[in-house]
Symmetry: C2
Subunit: 69 residues, 2 copies
DNA sequence: ACACTATGTATAGTAAACAATACATAATAA
DNA sequence: TTATTATGTATTGTTTACTATACATAGTGT
């Protein structure tokens, strides 16, 4: 099965070391969700994925990549 | 709140009138899921979204669009 | 020593994606 | 008529994304 990778942690630090809480606020989710996503504990809904990309001002595929089988 | 729109129905017909079942097979989901997505009954996981885009040979954002608030 | 900030852990509950199955129906074809 | 194909509906059950809350801890500054 394919996997979903994300570059959230990297993008946070590239964006002036944005904190998890700040990102959560911008994306409209909780800090716990950001933590879990960075740790690969689960994969976001497509809606949250779009919001996170928007929070960084980049396209969804610059944050999330699909590794096909 | 934002909404997620999809162009699955359009893309199916643009792709030689690909059937819902054929798309489901290519995307690795059930026909019911495709039906529900086309009817806007729910929004796909990001993983399924990537698979559907791949089934059409296009980028995720050509199938799914986020309408921010 | 005390406060504050950023990150992490643990747990319980809710909502929704998705599968699986069965059945209905209109269109087309033999 | 009978069979097949494509779409749709209805229902049940499982998994998991996500929230909410509380607590732990290392770092930094006063």
């Amino acid at each position: 099965m394919g996997k979903i990778k994300n570059r959230i942690r990297r993008l946070r630090f590239d964006n002036d070391e944005m904190t998890q809480e700040e990102l959560a606020n911008r994306a409209g989710c909780t800090r716990q969700t950001i933590i879990a996503l960075e740790q690969g504990k689960y994969v976001p809904s497509i809606e949250l994925a779009f919001k996170i990309a928007k929070a960084f001002g980049v396209a969804l595929e610059e944050v999330f990549q699909y590794e096909g089988e």
